[in-house]
């Protein structure tokens, strides 16, 4: 088996299964993705998400951009989306700019938890912690799905996660605990970072520091997942991991592109479908993972 973990086989299977699931359905999910502010840097990514999700699944992805919006208007806009029966998923791109920033948590929590396809509301985080079924942040779910598809042993494994946000690190720790892994949640205050990381069977780098994770940080034979996305001086996309340096030491490693990003988008499609069709979509995902695993291990 190749060392490089790519999302391509996994997403191919998962999108195909989703298309099959949706093909005889009367109702196709619809996502509304809200972004605010002229400095919003995620436009490229939003376009990519839209293109990928729509072309792969037929799920509707509507990008709504406000260059500026007042708190009250934004909340009313969200409430209208909550009520709108045509809308299954509501996403709000963070960080919010200017005055809105300080109210981020309160604004997010106006999103109806049943439409919270990003899994960021307090209610979704609570359901995750308490073991209720609900929405899990797409990046975390994508990483777990990728690991399972590559048949990486999670049970009993020490998993280092360098990120403590609700978008990546904490929900990932929660779902990996369900898989009987032992998560360590690291961050900028962690002392002797490499001493900790080099004990980890699996290392998830989402520290947002360009090529910071060198081979010194990595245990021999570790599985390395790179969540970071940066451009280097030559304009090439690189990650939080110094890929060529870590590659020889890792047993499996994701490249800077074509792994976590596409997995995240694919999970958004699954979450939106789950918003429409409920828990059978969990089983659809599990089945897809099993199929992908067979293809990858072949």
């Amino acid at each position: 088996m190749e060392k490089k973990m790519s999302s391509s086989v996994v997403t191919k299977v998962l999108y195909e299964n989703l298309r099959n699931f949706l093909k005889d359905k009367k109702r196709i999910p619809h996502i509304v993705d809200i972004s605010i502010g002229d400095d919003f840097g995620g436009e490229m990514y939003a376009k990519m998400k839209k293109k990928r999700i729509e072309s792969e699944t037929g799920i509707g992805f509507q990008s709504v951009h406000f260059s500026d919006i007042e708190l009250g208007s934004l909340i009313n806009y969200i409430i209208d989306l909550n009520k709108n029966e045509e809308v299954d998923g509501i996403m709000l791109q963070l960080p919010l700019p200017g005055e809105l920033h300080q109210f981020e948590r309160m604004i997010l929590d106006f999103i109806d938890p049943s439409k919270d396809v990003d899994g960021l509301t307090s209610a979704s985080l609570g359901n995750l912690a308490s073991g209720k079924d609900g929405f899990v942040a797409c990046t975390s779910l994508g990483i777990e799905t990728l690991l399972k598809s590559y048949d990486v042993r999670l049970d009993g494994s020490l998993v280092g996660i360098i990120n403590r946000t609700n978008v990546v690190g904490k929900p990932l720790a929660e779902i990996l605990l369900r898989d009987n892994a032992t998560p360590i949640i690291m961050h900028s205050h962690t002392r002797h970072l490499s001493d900790v990381t080099k004990n980890c069977d699996i290392l998830v780098a989402a520290l947002n520091r360009r090529e910071k994770i060198t081979s010194e940080y990595v245990k021999d034979g570790a599985v390395v997942i790179d969540v970071g996305v940066h451009k280097n001086e030559e304009g090439k996309t690189v990650g939080d991991v110094l890929y060529d340096d870590v590659y020889p030491k890792a047993s499996l490693i994701t490249p800077p592109t074509g792994a976590v990003g596409p997995m995240t988008i694919c999970m958004l499609a699954y979450n939106a479908t789950k918003s429409c069709y409920g828990s059978p979509v969990n089983e659809l995902l599990d089945e897809g993972i099993e199929e992908a695993k067979k293809l990858i291990l072949k």
Copy 2:
């Protein structure tokens, strides 16, 4: 400074502050503690809680025991307590017996989050994860309070937590992350447990295995918190930590009694008061910690 971490100085200060806070208040908090089943083993502990809280603070602690109760009746009983303006805190002792066990999560989530002094509802867990103010499980809060009172450095420290429940391990990891610690959440599936624990600056043993944690599991100079409570063959109370063996290696260590248990009860009194009087009670706790710290470091 002595190596033995005891709750006595801390709870003395915290109860005194709470009495002062409550003395000119018209309304004194009232807790209802529900236990179910004839095999319920926590009766002794419930009595101790009642006695301690009532004598130290004047807060009302009402134990309600059902030898058996139907699901619907239990839920109605909880709903009545939710509506009852005389009741500030509702606790439900787990595990629930028999048929009720499988509905534990759903039953817990009937507790009004504003009265959830045990911090166990999905809503409370969600507020904790999302950074909203709310109730945190008393044992976790008690451990954090004890560590802070003994001026243990949390920022940057590696904290091993051997427990992944919502009662101890996971909420503890959440609040320690706020303190900039690096939590590792361990459990029965963790491979090479002692290899992991002996790297930890702080070790919280809540694995519920009598005197399992020997000096081999402990880093030199580590702070060791023992949550376990067991009786040994001679009827003596012992913990998850083999105290005499670990003592020489630790820089601070809690004894099997007189530390985590009393801290937990004290935090329940604070949570019940917070249910009545809101976030100023957080500040009251912080002030108490600072006072206790001065006395302990003296």
